[in-house]
């Protein structure tokens, strides 16, 4: 005879505050070291900077104490630390750009975006009392996601920038609607799959030990595949296309536990990527730059060559095991060192040791998301938390994989670190949603006792009941 008792969960707000102090120390130390590395003195506004970051971090910590007291204690400090590291690196690259007379001032803008993101995350935590509310907006979220994805194609507000049509510019403020579409799609997929997963999990024929789905259940995955190929063709954005399709396949696997969906998804992806690489020159060029990166002809190509990728690799190589130190490398030699290739910049200045620590932070963040998905009791929350955690993990993998030449370079953004307002805001909202769901997951169950009436025969449900097996010989 064994009894199973759940461990009493500590709310963890005290632990969170302690970790937040460490995270803020990392952020401020990065800022100070950038000042020492570039100008040989501590930045004069370090106190204001530190205070501002502390106000934002403690503010959202207090919101958590108020509205989500059982939320996971590690998610917020990790996010704050990553954001702080990113801000310091953008600030450092600003110095380099300033010295070379190139446009700068990214750090100030990113600081404003950080403040906006934190306020928005707090608003999500305050206004959204229960994540299950979102399930009511399943199809609204699906349509909103589709509209956001298509927005850059609208003539007049859509902007073609660096070969991809993913920007929208309204009244001087530009943003990438696809960053917000990924949240909408996570909500839509979670709501859709929690309703339809039984049909999709039905096993069809078994081939080589693998349960294949029935042919008529292939509809949804083909629709999403076609949509992501359309994004690739019309907006020329490999990253968003990969993110949406990967998100759907991952959530399909979470919902059905059928490995066959993952294999079908991978096959579809390979087919789509192969078609795209042969049919479109810009995708083909990405593959070429990946496979033949060190070929001089590819390296020297003015547009679509491997120059950026190889310079990033050289930067990380010069960083070595412990890095050149903040402000002592030359990350600005790589194009887009503050956004797409910020991982290479960090690898150069912090070395492998620092970069692995940063990747560990992402790993812990994704793990907390999946742990939340395991802990939460409702199916919608499980799928949503799993999907959101997968978004963070897939973005990190695709960006870091691209920079380190594991996979071709795509246009995704390193969450929290890279320069970019839309991405920062969207990822903070993802964190707020994860915190909200983790509060539900870790909250101790209330002892609800359903009183059974003492007298009277209970009504037996009439429909949907199987007949009871009769024991032979007894009547």
């Amino acid at each position: 005879m064994a009894t199973v008792q759940p461990h009493a969960v500590r709310a963890g707000r005290g632990v969170e505050l302690g970790l937040l102090v460490l995270a803020l120390a990392i952020g401020v130390a990065s800022y100070v070291l950038v000042g020492i590395g570039t100008t040989d003195k501590v930045p004069p506004d370090v106190l204001e900077y530190g205070l501002g970051m502390a106000v934002l971090a403690v503010g959202i910590h207090l919101v958590l104490r108020w509205r989500a007291p059982y939320a996971d204690p590690v998610i917020l400090p990790i996010t704050v630390a990553l954001n702080g590291i990113g801000l310091a690196m953008i600030y450092r690259i600003d110095f380099a750009y300033e010295a070379r007379g190139r446009p700068h001032g990214f750090a100030d803008r990113q600081l404003v975006w950080t403040a906006i993101s934190v306020v928005l995350a707090a608003a999500v935590l305050i206004l959204l009392r229960d994540h299950r509310t979102l399930r009511r907006y399943t199809y609204t979220a699906g349509i909103a996601g589709l509209a956001l994805t298509l927005l850059p194609l609208v003539p007049g507000i859509g902007v073609l920038l660096n070969g991809a049509r993913i920007w929208v510019r309204v009244g001087g403020v530009g943003f990438q609607p696809a960053e917000f579409a990924k949240i909408a799609f996570a909500i839509f997929f979670a709501g859709y799959l929690v309703t339809h997963r039984d049909a999709l999990a039905l096993a069809g024929p078994k081939v080589l030990g693998l349960h294949l789905p029935r042919a008529q259940d292939l509809g949804p995955i083909l629709v999403v595949w076609a949509a992501s190929v359309a994004v690739l063709v019309l907006e020329r954005d490999l990253g968003t296309s990969l993110l949406f399709f990967g998100l759907f396949v991952a959530m399909l696997y979470l919902a059905t536990e059928r490995l066959s969906w993952v294999i079908i998804g991978l096959l579809l992806f390979v087919v789509g990527a192969g078609l795209a690489a042969t049919a479109f020159s810009h995708v083909g060029a990405r593959f070429d730059a990946w496979l033949h990166a060190f070929d001089p002809a590819v390296f020297d190509k003015a547009y679509g060559g491997s120059g950026q990728l190889v310079r990033g690799l050289f930067g990380m190589a010069s960083g070595g095991l412990f890095g050149t130190g903040w402000g002592d490398g030359r990350p600005d030699l790589v194009p887009f060192a503050e956004s797409d290739f910020i991982v290479a910049s960090l690898g150069e200045e912090l070395g492998l040791t620092g970069l692995i620590a940063i990747l560990m932070c992402y790993l812990i963040l994704a793990q907390r998301g999946f742990r939340t998905a395991i802990g939460v009791r409702d199916g919608f929350g499980k799928l949503l938390a799993g999907g959101l955690a997968f978004i963070v993990a897939l973005q990190t993998f695709v960006v870091v994989g691209g920079v380190t030449r594991v996979i071709p370079v795509t246009g995704l953004v390193t969450p929290f670190i890279a320069y970019g307002g839309s991405s920062l805001v969207a990822n903070w909202v993802i964190v707020a949603l994860l915190l909200r769901i983790s509060d539900e997951a870790r909250r101790p169950a209330r002892n609800v006792r359903v009183a059974t009436p003492i007298a009277g025969v209970p009504q037996v449900a009439a429909g949907g009941d199987q007949p009871t097996e009769v024991i032979g010989g007894i009547s």
Partner: protein
């Protein structure tokens, strides 16, 4: 600033990063032990260390509300080991999800039997089940008083009241 200071600061920063990562992991460590499983039988069989005097420590007195049984224990069947603490309300057994003890058993009816207190005593009542409820191998017709320790068979499961 001297070269040495800068190098120390640089390495100190990397150390700070890793302190943060490792502290976070340490916070998560208790997550790995999500539930505690106590095997009661194994605990009982643990031999007494030789140095300890043979005086058996008395079991801590159970805080029972009265002399009556305090829990319903499944002693046989797929749910063996399940314990239901008894309160003042009835316990409904059956296959329906609304039952107190949901039996995943094709031989039990959706609402099979009820165990309820009345006048300081517990009774078992068959709710018109297909295969019947048996108290000490006797099929129950009318509500029957259920003494502590008497086995009740419901489908493939056997239950009993315990103090």
């Amino acid at each position: 600033m001297s070269e040495l200071t800068i190098t120390l600061l640089r390495l100190g920063y990397l150390a700070l990063l890793w302190v943060f990562v490792l502290t976070s992991i340490a916070v998560l460590r208790r997550d790995l032990y999500g539930t505690r499983i106590t095997d009661r039988r194994r605990k009982a069989r643990v031999p007494q260390p030789a140095g300890v005097t043979a005086q058996p420590t008395p079991a801590p007195p159970r805080q029972a509300r009265s002399a009556g049984p305090s829990r319903l224990v499944v002693t046989e069947g797929p749910l063996r080991g399940t314990i239901i603490p008894l309160g003042s309300s009835a316990v409904l057994l059956g296959r329906a999800p609304s039952c107190t003890l949901v039996l995943d058993d094709d031989y039990s009816s959706s609402r099979h039997a009820r165990i309820y207190p009345q006048g300081g005593q517990w009774f078992v009542e068959d709710l018109g089940s297909t295969n019947g409820t048996f108290v000490a191998d006797q099929r129950v017709g009318a509500p029957t008083p259920l003494p502590t320790g008497t086995p009740v068979r419901v489908g493939q499961s056997v239950l009993e009241l315990q103090r």
